[in-house]
Symmetry: C2
Subunit: 208 residues, 2 copies
């Protein structure tokens, strides 16, 4: 936990950490306030409900992971297909860091919230659905660059980006089932098959 | 709900339905007993704990879906690659039936439990992890048949089966995010790319 003076930020950070390691339903407002060092009476000064905090956690998570980590990789200067190797390396690093910190394999915070909440909270589901669209859009950016560079044939990049996002989400489920981020070491390169590229062409570096 | 006289069966059926539509944490023993028409005092005659019921739900679900639905398709007499078209058709039918009954897109009960419980219940995670191994084994059976029949090149079928399971799990997350089983209509055929087959060769029939 940081020692920031902003209680709202601390509440978002505490909720994100606790929900990621356990689940939304399993961790209530009281525990989040306690972890954040914020009086429960102040909670509703910052958020109108647990759902409202949920929306803030999703948005902050996307700013950190989507805008902060994935966008620079997928829209950056590297050769387009190599960006996926970088993406998978960075994802593996983050999963290993979180396992080191928490003792368990946490998977994708966004996918976890989708699975837990999509049937019971339409507002949170809708926000997460749009986040998935944005995520697929970042993947498509790299695929469009790959087609433009002649590294891929003229594929349907909108479809291929959604397929890759599905596969990434599936790997998030697998590593949780195995409680081991490395359970997908050999599955990651196959993501390139989904987009019509040769997995042997781009190999993510192993992460210790 | 069936009208079976066996209270244990009714508890398993009620828990499976309620957890699938909401979540494990969101539905407790009292509500399950009420739904099953079983006195709460009798619950612990059948199950030592909520987790014990969880194990029974997982095993019953695998008997119904894995042994009852997937095994006959994946190890059956159809041409090997066409079995996947049948598998995806049947999966889509089941998702649409459950959406019709519940009003929401429920996804994969096993994957949902993995995502929700893997970090908080090691016993349930371990059971689900073995279930995933069995599932990949069924997929591998069809892939081995495809290689033997000359419908696939000599691929690593153990790896390819795990990749296909990951992709199936990912599609389960996507349909929940979109609250629409049909959100993966165009993604399903791409599963064949993961195993080195041409998606155009095997096309699942559309399900209304």
């Amino acid at each position: 936990m940081g020692r920031r003076s902003d209680a709202r930020e601390r509440l978002i950070e505490a909720a994100a950490e606790l929900w990621h390691v356990r689940s939304y339903a399993d961790v209530g407002v009281s525990e989040i306030c306690e972890r954040a060092g914020v009086q429960k009476g102040s909670f509703y000064h910052f958020f109108s409900s647990k759902r409202d905090l949920g929306l803030a956690v999703i948005d902050a998570g996307w700013q950190r992971i989507g805008v902060g980590e994935m966008a620079p990789i997928l829209t950056g200067p590297e050769p387009p297909l190599e960006r996926f190797a970088r993406l998978f390396e960075r994802g593996m690093e983050l999963q290993l860091e979180m396992k080191e910190a928490s003792g368990v394999t946490v998977g994708c915070n966004f996918g976890n919230l989708v699975v837990e909440l999509s049937t019971v909270d339409e507002v949170l589901r809708e926000r997460l659905s749009r986040l998935f669209d944005d995520w697929a859009g970042l993947i498509r950016h790299a695929l469009d660059d790959a087609v433009a560079a002649g590294d891929l044939p003229e594929i349907d990049t909108a479809l291929a980006s959604r397929a890759m996002l599905a596969y990434i989400q599936g790997m998030g489920v697998i590593i949780k089932a195995k409680d081991d981020p490395h359970a997908v070491d050999d599955l990651l390169p196959l993501a390139l098959r989904l987009i019509g590229a040769d997995p042997a062409a781009v190999r993510p570096a192993p992460v210790a």
